[in-house]
């Protein structure tokens, strides 16, 4: 069975959670010593989280995939992402925010770190799952994470072990930034270059998704050639599928544990459809590989 771990949140709601949780002491929460604090966070999240979002999340069937969202984790503090993944003895596809925490220390205010810091990073190393970064907004932590993965494979960076984590300007010190990635991230030129993706695929790393997330300013989106309205859903799906296509075309990529990308704008049926497509491609590749 191929396992898919997908997130199913909506960026705006997710960001609300981030803002809320940032008001609290993450170390105390993540240590598990202060359940009352966690309960307070959950209560507060519930007050602002749109019911329609919760409904969407709960509507995703658990079969053959674990739909774990930031909101779900906040609501169900007993349901740790890592436990869910471990219960399936391996993960083939990870979609979305879960992998954004694979960098271990990125996005310091994400609920995933709050609940289980570093857990996903360890899973990534254990199962050979590769980092995928969303969020096309330039220079964010996820971008830096992904660039780090390019440089060091799946190793998790940390403040303690990697001085490059200390920022100097928009990128970690010493990390080489391929010029086409600069372009890709909207500094200039097209936002998504297949040639870039294919080259990244050689290292089993894909970037994609999340274009037009709430953090993007309108000018940034203009630079990337993206619409700044709800049509991002179409844009994101397009980017998503092009990424998948690039992977399909790459004959040398037989990595079993795939990396996936995602879009905040891809939900429910769309998400399932994309996941099915990717799973089909993975299975096809594996089948060919086995036949050799």
């Amino acid at each position: 069975m191929l396992r898919v771990v997908a997130k199913a949140n909506i960026s705006r709601a997710y960001n609300k959670i981030v803002k809320i949780t940032s008001e609290f002491d993450f170390e105390r929460v993540s240590s598990g010593k202060d359940q009352s604090l966690l309960e307070r966070i959950v209560d507060k999240v519930k007050t602002v989280y749109p019911a329609r979002v919760l409904n969407r999340i709960s509507a995703i069937p658990p079969q053959n995939k674990l739909a774990v969202s930031a909101a779900e984790r906040v609501q169900r503090p007993d349901y740790y992402t890592t436990d869910a993944v471990k219960s399936n003895e391996g993960v083939d596809i990870i979609i979305g925010t879960l992998m954004q925490s694979a960098g271990g220390v990125a996005a310091v205010s994400t609920p995933s770190r709050m609940i289980n810091p570093g857990g996903i990073a360890r899973l990534a190393q254990r199962y050979g799952v590769y980092q995928v970064s969303g969020d096309f907004d330039s220079y964010n932590d996820y971008t830096q994470d992904a660039l780090h993965i390019l440089e060091y494979g799946t190793r998790t960076r940390s403040k303690e072990t990697d001085p490059r984590f200390v920022k100097s300007g928009p990128y970690p010190v010493g990390v080489k930034i391929p010029s086409d990635i600069r372009q890709w991230y909207g500094v200039k030129g097209p936002r998504l270059k297949v040639s870039t993706i294919e080259r990244l695929l050689a290292g089993d790393v894909i970037f994609s998704g999340d274009a037009g997330d709430e953090g993007d300013t309108e000018s940034e989106m203009d630079q990337m050639g993206l619409p700044s309205d709800l049509s991002q859903a179409v844009t994101d799906m397009d980017a998503f599928l092009r990424t998948a296509e690039a992977w399909i075309r790459h004959p040398g990529n037989y990595a079993r544990n795939i990396f996936l990308t995602h879009s905040n704008a891809v939900y429910d049926d769309d998400l399932h459809a994309v996941a099915r497509t990717i799973v089909s491609v993975i299975r096809a590749k594996l089948r060919i590989l086995r036949s050799k």
Binding site: M1, E245, T277, V281, A284, I288, S291
Partner: protein
Amino acid sequence: MAGSNVAQFFDVSSVWDLDSYQVSLAHWVNVYSSIYELPEDDRPSDAVIHDDLALDLWFKNRGKGQRGSSGTSITNHKASRTIA
């Protein structure tokens, strides 16, 4: 993913320009896509999907059944599907 769609997908002018890997990949993507698009009641179990021999046998048996009723097989039925 079939016919001209495949050629377009792999950036070649015709299907005759596809290499063996691309042909094989297109075929198997179609096969697995067709499986995942089946209603759950009709879909083989994950164990079967994971086992190449078992899956081949499942297709063989299903093909027999469908030829008896509609004269088509699942893979043929999905032949015109495109990936993206």
